[in-house]
Amino acid sequence: MTPLLEAEGLVKRFPMRHPLTRRVTGHLTAVDGVSLTVRRGETLGLVGESGCGKSSTARLITRLAEPTGGTIRFDGRDITTMGEATLRPVRRDLQMIFQDPFSSLNPRMTVEAILSAPFRYQGLKPEPGQIAELLRRVGLRPEHAERLPHQFSGGQAQRIGIARALALHPKLVVCDEPVSALDVSVQAQILNLLRDLQEEFELSYVFIAHDLGAVRQVCGRIAVMYLGTVVEIADRDELFAHPAHPYTAALLAAVPIPDPRIERARPRVVLSGDLPSPANPPSGCPFRTRCPRAAERCALERPTLAEGAPGHRVACHFPLDTSLGLSRDGARRAGPRPAKGAP
């Protein structure tokens, strides 16, 4: 079966303009040659720190932004350059959930109107009782239909956003940081809900988050992004157990673990410095300026994604030794590590 979504060499470049003359002074490459596939029924995670291009990638694959280069095939059709009119039927199957539930809901519209909007957009009308059923499905009550967004808590508002995305039974839902604005307990509820809905509606997700714990909870495969490129992609358990890219290992090691014994035993700072500006990226490997393993070659030649273990691809000239799971210095960097005394 063909994958549900295939993105090939996606590029998004934004012109940078002088603040007064508006003259184009250069270009910022937010997404720099990203290739991804989403299989039917799977959840692909996209992780990385702010500015790594994960949200821009989301906006490209949902065609909320026009790609500068590359192709996007969704459900067997090339949607890369489709106009809004031809995209309209495609949008039934391709939905999105946003980070801030309140700013993605119109404050003047009742929940009923918000949930009817996808139908209206497609020239349809919800069946009687369909809105009530949607609300029930996401854990709200039918009488909530008459309320306005401000009458809800953050978690409830996010449930409305989820109901809206599911209204037309889409095939793919792109979730852009769906839980990062929520408290942990509410976050857990939403993650559980997303999982239940996936089973019930046979959904595929692209799940974007900077929180590796949340990503690990819901994703089957994970792509790690850095400065507009995918630096590593693997199945979840493989990625967490054997991170091959030094950036992935550093990212894992920096996630605080809520256990003082473990947390205090780990080295805390694994990466020095800041993310370079995407307007002025380093030559060669984008990560080399912060990489503990960087060598001369890294400045000259940009590494491409190459397969190590089956299904595990990494863009690095000097990957951590994945065959052993832990390389000599990777063992200290890669978190989580076995408890002391373990073989």
Binding site: Q187, A188, G213, I257, S272
Partner: protein, 265 residues
Amino acid sequence: MTLLDVKDLRVSFGETRAVDGLSFSLERGRVLGLVGESGCGKSVTSLAVMGLLNGATTSGEIWFDGQELLGSDRRAVRRLRGDRLAMIFQDPLSSLNPYYPVGFQIAEAYRAHRRTSRKQARAIVVRMLDRVGIPEAERRARDYPHQFSGGMRQRVMIAMALCLEPELIIADEPTTALDVTVQAQILALLDTLRAEYGTAVLLITHDLGVVAGTADEVVVMYGGRAVERGEVHALFEDPREPYTRRLLAAVPRIDRPVPDRLETL
């Protein structure tokens, strides 16, 4: 020795009770983590200690080094604030003035409490910026907040908070707006500086992982009260209260097998 002693603090805004009978104390040089979800009253507590609450009804006592703050007049609190008590906020961009260079702003804070020449203040600013890990401190002191990254801006805030060598720093979600790798850098920096200056820290956060790595003692808040408190190892190993237990279980952890469903409250 007790530096900060909060007794039966109550804060309400009209009918809403934000803090409802909270007591805790903090020793010199120690780190107390105040954790809880949004609306539990943790930030209001920090503002109460700093004397920055407007339009709120407060009762109870806040003792700082033998001086009661809630009943003190504003001028006395102002003399302490910034000098012996300092604060670091979540969002450094909105706590720095975009119109002035960062060095100017740090010097301003310093000279509000110490009689020094501009030149002397300037030297202290550069030394502090260097101390918090800002490269080329001399030149960077003349830069404006927007010219710094999020992590660098938080370093500037830390330099500002520490330039007067306060006895207590209140850090309200100091790393929440930062990426994990930068968060790790800032937490390590706070740790080093705290040890060097012997500063006590009241760390306010929703992140149990950050507390586990940083705090000596923990107070878990819910609905304006402390539901559980204890030494950090004891509290994480054997949480007594159901709320604490469920809060811990709700965090997806990367060092444990993936559960089928997450615990919800």
